[in-house]
């Protein structure tokens, strides 16, 4: 059959039989499993951050038993100050806070560093104290415990370890104290305050700049301003934080004349600088992705360039801009270094933008190094970390799925 080509006896079943190529097989398997790792990392991050906060969720008998032992040994109030407890399990310390949330209502086991003399002489309420004092000088937080209240507390001790939980919903963040209080609301309030300020500045600025870049700027101007604004993303947050701390804080204090040099406003301005490149880049992409037919249709109807930009292009790109803003929020919400350096780090809950605040991320950043492994404080910080992770994960998921769906609907009429 194949006389003209004696060299090649080629097309036989045998020579074409499916071959197993080891290198091929290995390459594919290795590459896929490495790719799988990035999925695994997301899970691992959540698991390991959440895992360290697990002790908070152990309402089990273990913690209870310890609490009871403590409760019995502490039955006599007189022994309080004198008894040094080796045991550092914070779960066993506090009790259920009473409704008024007044510090003095907590019955506590004093730690070693407690000075018994200060016990009775401290002012009853610390509510008015400068919050800065809370974290730094825990001793001042000791409060008078009257005999019956102490008894109350002791009995409440037996109710279990969930007291840490109930302090979560207060506005007092006093993690290092005889009766640590982990008022996440204060931190949430601080984080929200900074986020709102930052977004109020960064959102309009970045979106308007993106609108200019994509609709009004000439091609040459665009090629200059886009890389410059995106260069802002290359500024490390510690640099922005440093700039805010050293320059902005003084400048704005001179302008507005407020009291605390570092405050939510300064933090917000600095974080806006960090969020601008993100919002700008994604918004610009969204605006550029608006189909040309939209613009042309509008221009053909006699609309001017700016009318087209504001009334056609901008509305059409809304989902993308929304995603940009969401990711901007994500960035600000979890920003650590700027918060650490520029917000003053006092867990105040005041509506005044020129008061210091303390954000979630900054709390983790500043306090983690000082906690003891396995301590409640340690667990609470990891718990905050889990919250931040879930929040950023959710933001990204919304930005991804919701917005993508909207865009598809809008542009393809699906």
């Amino acid at each position: 059959m194949n006389t003209q080509m004696p060299i090649k006896q080629t097309f036989t079943e045998e020579s074409l039989k499916k071959q197993f190529r080891l290198s091929e097989f290995l390459a594919e398997k290795i590459i896929s499993s490495v790719a799988f790792l990035s999925i695994a990392i997301i899970f691992l991050i959540f698991i390991f951050v959440f895992k360290e906060s697990l002790p908070l969720f152990s309402f089990g008998s273990d913690a209870k038993a310890k609490t009871e032992i403590n409760a019995t040994t502490e039955a006599k109030p007189e022994t309080y100050g004198a008894e040094p407890t080796e045991e550092l399990k914070p779960e066993s310390y506090g009790a259920e806070p009473t409704e008024e949330l007044k510090p003095e209502s907590y019955g506590d086991t004093p730690k070693e560093d407690l000075k018994p003399e200060t016990y009775g002489s401290e002012p009853v309420s610390q509510e008015d104290l400068k919050p800065e004092a809370y974290g730094d000088t825990p001793k001042e937080d000791l409060t008078v415990a009257s005999a019956d209240e102490t008894m109350d507390a002791v009995s409440e001790n037996q109710e279990g370890a969930d007291k840490t939980w109930s302090t979560f919903f207060t506005t007092e963040w006093v993690p290092v104290s005889e009766n640590p209080r982990f008022g996440l609301l204060a931190l949430l309030f601080g984080t929200l305050k900074v986020t709102i300020i930052a977004m109020l500045i960064a959102g309009p600025l970045a979106v308007l700049a993106a609108l200019y870049t994509s609709c009004f700027a000439s091609k040459r101007v665009k090629e200059i301003i886009k890389p410059i604004i995106e260069m802002l993303a290359a500024f490390p947050s510690v640099v922005i934080g440093f700039f805010a701390l050293m320059v902005l804080a003084t400048f704005f204090q001179d302008v507005f004349g407020y009291e605390s040099r570092l405050n939510a406003f300064i933090g917000g301005v600095a974080m806006a600088l960090a969020a601008i490149p993100i919002i700008y880049t994604i918004s610009e992409d969204a605006l550029a992705a608006v189909p040309k037919t939209y613009t042309e249709a509008s221009l053909a109807l006699g609309a001017s360039k700016w009318q087209t930009a504001f009334f056609v292009v901008l509305p059409a790109a809304t989902p993308g801009i929304f995603a940009a803003l969401l990711l901007g929020v994500g960035r600000v919400f979890g920003e650590t270094m700027i918060a650490l350096m520029a917000t003053g780090n006092a867990a105040l809950s005041s509506l005044n933008p020129f008061e210091s605040v303390r954000t979630f991320a900054a709390t983790i950043g500043s306090e983690m190094a000082e906690t003891v492994f396995g301590d409640t404080h340690y667990s609470v910080l990891f718990f905050i970390g889990s919250l931040l992770f879930i929040f950023s994960f959710a933001l990204n998921a919304v930005a991804e799925f919701y917005v993508k769906g909207k865009l598809l609907k809008k542009f393809q009429g699906k």
Binding site: A35, S38, G302, T336, K410
Partner: protein, 314 residues
Amino acid sequence: MNKVINESEDHFFSSKKSISDIKGTFFVGITQLAVILIIAILFVILGIIIYQGRSKFSWEFISSFPTNGMTEGGIFPALIGTFILVIVMSIAAVPFGTITALYLTEYASENSKFAAAVRFSVRTLAVVPSIIFGLFGLGFFIQFLGAGADTAFNGGELRWGQPNILWASLTMSLLTLPVIIVSVEEALKTIPRELREASLALGATKWQTIKNVVLPGSVSGIMTGTILAVSRGAGEVAPILFTGAAYYLATLPGSLSDQFMNLGYHIYIMSTQSSDVEKTMPIQFATTLVLLILTLSLNVVAVLIRSRIRRNAK
């Protein structure tokens, strides 16, 4: 689509033409102002840091140790620590990121759920706050891997179960992974389909094609990714706060299990916890200047390489 146009129709055909012109100038002016403001802020930051940092900025500052309780002297160990950090980080992140990008562009089929999950994970990694990576480094690398290794191999003696440069670098590599993946993916996509087909038509297998044609063609993309990742890693502080950065060390790190000093961390502690913030101000600004020069110049290089790749692809 129709709805949008109809809405605008009402508006466009209104008779207030001249008013609309004024409004137009105003609105365009506002957007222009936003651009100018952002760029102005950027240059003000740069200008002030250069102005304040220039007096201290010198070769001696870069090449000497801090002295006198960190109130005098240079930043040499912080610079070296940062270098080691980004090198170890790159060694971990670049192969990992490149392979993931290879999977996404070469192996994943279009409708693969798995590939979609990988993409989603990568984007999630990019938006997870950096402090979370720090927590993860502490919880996973130090407490789990490190302490686990100590118990298993060192008889419980503490060596790896504490913050060190290896754990900090690995933590940082997770943070910079998306940067690399995105850059490499972009570069892989610029390799023309014709080249892949040429190789396959010659009887090359998929892996042979990747190894001989695709990867050599995306070297510059991998480089861009690495440079961007290094720029990012050099500037991030939050992930290393409790995974290895040290306040002050009299010697350079000698092994991966040592702690290290870091430029960004140095700026942070000098400006917030220094014994004499006023006195060390020039040092702080100069350190910031060094860090900024480092990250910005790396970024410029990466942008230049990237625009060259894009031009070549056209």
